[in-house]
Amino acid sequence: MSDERTEFDVLVVGGGPAGMAAATVAAECGVQVAIVDDNRALGGQIWRESSRGGQHEERNHWEARLRARQVQLLCGYRVVDQPEAGVLLAESGEKYRELRWQRLIVATGARERFLPFPGWTLPNVMGAGGLQAMVKCGLPIRGKRVVVAGTGPLLLAVAAYLGKQGAAVVLVSEQASWGRLARFAAELARFPQKLWQGLGLRRELAGVRFAANSWPLEAHGDSRLEAVTVSAAGKPANIACDYLACGFHLLPNVELPLLLGCQLDGDYVRVDEWQQTTVEGVYCAGEPTGIGGVELALVEGQIAGWSAAGKVGEARRLFPARARAQRFRRLLDRTFALRPELKRLPHPDTFVCRCEDVPYSRLRPHASWRAAKLHTRCGMGPCQGRVCGPATEFLLDWKAESVRPPIFPARVMNLARHHGEKQQPGEGLEPELET
């Protein structure tokens, strides 16, 4: 068991595009930098490596630069707590690290938004990015029938990827209206790089049925998915499939910034022009400051990295690029906003909280997230409300006000250790999960 204490000039949480860019430019200024990330490898979700091969050129570029500067990599470690100011606690299985920092860059990325509908808890109903990640990790998909549903540009990217891997993509069901999508397509002309990506996808998706104004109504199956009913052109249609890949755009991972006391603007972490949060010395870059995709994440990451290393001149040179990429972010928000009909997706007996199996009918009588937690255990399971919290925010207009440490289930032994140097491990503390 290694429990080294380690101290860094700049600590970056998250090894996706924003974190890699931030760590690289900071390290190139000569300061000591580390990246800590829950995943097994760098790249985050968007540049996740595939066990089937295939490389991301851009990812390799950043990885080569950060390895040249000997950025310390702590992959497979997730940050669970801040036991005192300037210190983060990270664990990997039974291993534990205390990470001390002078400057912290939060680049925790985004996750998919899930909405409950009847049958969504069946095995083989997954997130869109979720299924793609599983396929990249070796899930055999050749010849499997897949319905891709929900909203956001990720749906097309996932459909194209799965098709390339040999899946039979039966339908892409997008809840946004044709009108919104047409405006989105017209606006893309202002973002040449995005337009090319879009046209590339269109080629790859030739022959795949695409429905706008469409969403899943119910997933069917006994112990696993067999079919899905979607609403398309105002009518329900039943489609046999092996997988339903369903995500409703992305949500920022703001649990760590909230734990650190950073203020939000709406859903996103508030930052100044240097990407500094409302907490001195804590910077934030990428999706937690707004869902803007990889270009914005790379620019914000570099600005945060330069700023954290004290090179404000270099940071300032990237302001125009950031302003351009932020316009794309606002376009995404407008295009893929959820339509109100989706509030009618869950039936009274549909589980909204999957950890504690709390049905929609038990939530509706309550006035707030807090009241529902106290009375129904909604959000009290191991995901700590990461799935059902955003769902109830959309369905019932609730807002989860705060986070509680540890921000992921952690071993009691590890949590006790920071405070318990005097205390011998094993004295009544079993290394079990606290859920």
């Binding site: 995943n39 808890t121 095995p123 979720g130 899930l139 504690e356 199996d357 191991p382 799935v387 079990e432």
Partner: protein, 81 residues
Amino acid sequence: MPSEITLRVNGEPVSVPRGATVAVALAIRGQPCRKSVTGEVRGPLCGMGICFECRVSIDGVPHCRSCQIACQPGMDVRTDE
């Protein structure tokens, strides 16, 4: 190095491509990951370590997120019965 590795899922041998996660090994066997508190069978949802639906026991350690852990030769994976 062999391109496949073999581990055990509920005592039965399963071969997976090197680099595959434990969640993938379970999917190849058609084996759900856990039973929910009301007894529903569940499989992975998010694929990125957030939702905890893919929890299993690995080599005696409970509550491991199978989507975040690479298969190792001889690993002993147990799901809820």
